[in-house]
Subunit: 339 residues, 2 copies
Amino acid sequence: MIKIAVDAMGGDNAPSEIVKGAVEAVSERPDITVCLTGQEDIIKKELEKYTYKKEQIEIVPASEVIETGEPPVNAIRKKKDSSIVVGMNLVKRGEADGFVSAGSSGAILVGGQVIVGRIKGVERPPLAPLIPTEKGFSLLIDCGANVDARPSHLVQFAQMGSIYMEHVMGVKRPRVAIVNIGAEEEKGNALVKETFPLLKECPGINFIGSIEAREIPHGGADVIVCEAFVGNVILKLYEGVGATMISMIKKGMMSSLRSKIGALLIKPALKSTLKSFDASQYGGAPLLGLKGLVVKTHGSSKANEVKNSIIQCIAFKEQAISEKIGQCLSPREEDIKEP
Amino acid sequence: MIKIAVDAMGGDNAPSEIVKGAVEAVSERPDITVCLTGQEDIIKKELEKYTYKKEQIEIVPASEVIETGEPPVNAIRKKKDSSIVVGMNLVKRGEADGFVSAGSSGAILVGGQVIVGRIKGVERPPLAPLIPTEKGFSLLIDCGANVDARPSHLVQFAQMGSIYMEHVMGVKRPRVAIVNIGAEEEKGNALVKETFPLLKECPGINFIGSIEAREIPHGGADVIVCEAFVGNVILKLYEGVGATMISMIKKGMMSSLRSKIGALLIKPALKSTLKSFDASQYGGAPLLGLKGLVVKTHGSSKANEVKNSIIQCIAFKEQAISEKIGQCLSPREEDIKEP
């Protein structure tokens, strides 16, 4: 039985959509249990709306809530009884196999490192969302809050991203590329130029070279390596351009009677197209390199995204991703000087 | 009479679309002359296809062509009789008011600095394309090839971008924002954190703070300041996400008879919507801060983009942008120690 802790209080649509997502997840998977962390009376009231197997959902009370704007280090330190800290402690103590939250990114990133802790050998845990492409999806690694990365961090991102894509998402020999401003090896900023040869020499990854941002939506690589500032820009621009185009197309279609009729006819086809370009169906972004699984879902997550994030944790646990990362990145014995 | 030099040999569609664009520009504007630089016989043959006022187009022969893949510094140094070097020399000698090229970005950036030369006080000339937004367009500054910028460069980008948007594009008190991974002042990488207070104190610009990438397509600012690596990622991802979505929507609409009929009905409306989100209508990207005007148009430019790039030069010249930048950025007299 796999047990996933879920932050019932985090995100724009908490607690209703979070609780709904948890109910949908346990209905789909009879082999899991969900622990909802947060204010008991509120969660109970939400749960009363649904029919589900009582033994599959439990509530772990947490009286406090970390708000999005709060300085994360302080929040994690002071709000010991918050839904995030309580959920992460469940993972730390081995009482849950993973923790899903749509709450404050900063608090989740800090909490992951401080409470759950890094795997030995991991220099920096990256946040790695899946982004939709023409061919399916790619892993964008890192989109976290730790900017100004070093080349060795990027190499570890490539290794961790490859393990995740191969064993959780089932992509054979995932193609790894580094985000660059041209395809040639001599192009790039100082970080990319230093990292490129390290990636070329890195064993166990399928490095295909540089990727220009234009090729990302076409599915030019499976693991897109970049430092967090650039990753954040890519992730948010993806959303922004997509949302703007959809809104402009909708407005455009309402501009004449002719196009209004056309719009009605293409609606079902358009809907399924846009769905395949919607990040929410892929669940949340794992924070890789931690001793336990922590998944950050979008702040505006609805039940479907929460459900998918919970289900994503199953493969992560079953495939023993943290152990695989540990084996790949932990200092080799010959490097350790102590007897 | 304003005279614009145009590289007839640069870009994927040279010389045919370049020459066509030049003809369209002079047909629209009887007050300009275009000098086409490149191989005389080839240009002549293209010009024979059109009717235009002969005195408005002249050919300035250049026997060599700089290819896209060539190392730019070498190319500019060695190919003295290339269409790019010949065109830039016309600007340098004051025989042309501006130079438009769809050729090698690297060669244009290097040539701009080496041949045309920087305005006194300008530390680094940025490449600043206009990008489409929901509300119209914004200036993305810098998308050039000089990565790893310093805070003082970014401040100058904000100043030059403001001058361009106000006087060439007619945007009153353009809103200036710096690309960041959060709206709060304490967020960002080292470069952004150092630049932010400098922008706040910079006189003569309307600084509105940070902008997240998500807000760029919504038109959240008029002048989007960033260093070239991030700018390049933004520009190319814009293109990539847009192209992918359009191709997916088209494919989606062809999936059933019902949606095919709908597609026919919405076609005109959709076309005008997509046109308003098409960067090509705004002409090329100026390389700001040079003693003369150099405009880089997209490598895949067609006649319409070439025409718009040429016409854009008129406002640049009429508004004396280089002089305005010089006045704004040149070292103030009290800073100069010599008598």
